[in-house]
Subunit: 160 residues, 2 copies
């Protein structure tokens, strides 16, 4: 019960795109370099973001990725959904059916439990939808990533 790291990566990616001056497309290699992951891996994340509609992509020379809409129109739920998906936290494996199949059949309300967990989860998602990235992140001054020296994994102080 922990976020995938993809959520944090996505937040970084979206922030990078928001920081880009003049909404110029940002090449994937600039992003993968910053995040210190392979370009091929980063592209798979970007593809998800494009399919989900958070980001647009331009092919060809001078191509790259841009935000599909301003940060203020992107909610935490958008970011959560694109990485974690719509699947419920609580997923029944049918264990209780196994355990109480014979001799005891009192689970006439067997999915009452699942529904209850589901209701709480809906509340969670609903709250996430009320936060947008615009209100949570402050973009002071934009930059041109192209002109910033690429920083590899080895040049950073990684504190974990």
């Amino acid at each position: 019960m922990k976020f995938k790291s993809g959520i944090e990566q996505t937040l970084c990616i979206l922030t990078m795109l928001a920081l880009q001056k003049n909404s110029k497309p940002v090449r994937s290699s600039l992003i993968s370099g910053r995040l210190a992951v392979s370009d091929s891996y980063l592209k798979k994340i970007m593809r998800q973001l494009v399919v989900f509609g958070l980001v647009t992509s331009d092919s060809g020379r001078e191509g790259g990725f841009r935000l599909a809409r301003p940060l203020s129109k992107i909610t935490l739920l958008d970011v959560f959904d694109v990485i974690e998906g719509k699947a419920q936290f609580a997923q029944s494996s049918g264990l209780s059916c196994q355990v109480f199949s014979d001799h005891v059949q009192d689970l006439n309300r067997k999915d009452a439990l699942m529904n209850a967990f589901g209701e709480a989860e809906q509340l969670y998602r609903k709250r996430l939808k009320q936060f947008n990235l615009g209100q949570l992140l402050t973009i002071d001054h934009q930059v041109d990533w192209e002109s910033i020296i690429k920083v590899g994994r080895e040049h950073l102080n990684v504190t974990t």
Copy 2:
């Protein structure tokens, strides 16, 4: 972002204890047999439940496990907490510090994101606390597990 199976197992265990006639202690081997896990593994789960205060244990002959309080006094949050713990869903790995450390320092509200996720999570837990097992499970007729033939993994229709 998915429940551990321990939650489902715990719900089964608590249900078994609630079904036991006369609140007689239930031996761990009866429970592990039903759940089709090793007794030593089950005991580790039971220990957690005891430490967390959901269940009491009696040593010695005629010993076993009993509910520490009625189902109506056990909430979904209790079950959730005992298995999933108190750790937040969102855990920062410091990636954004890495990515934006130099050249860009606009993350003055860098934990605004974490706080937002945390707020939604609090809401989730709060809702879980409002459900108790008494209202979600119906106990028709109690049984004496001791007198019910032990059912092993091989005798059950496992549908996964």
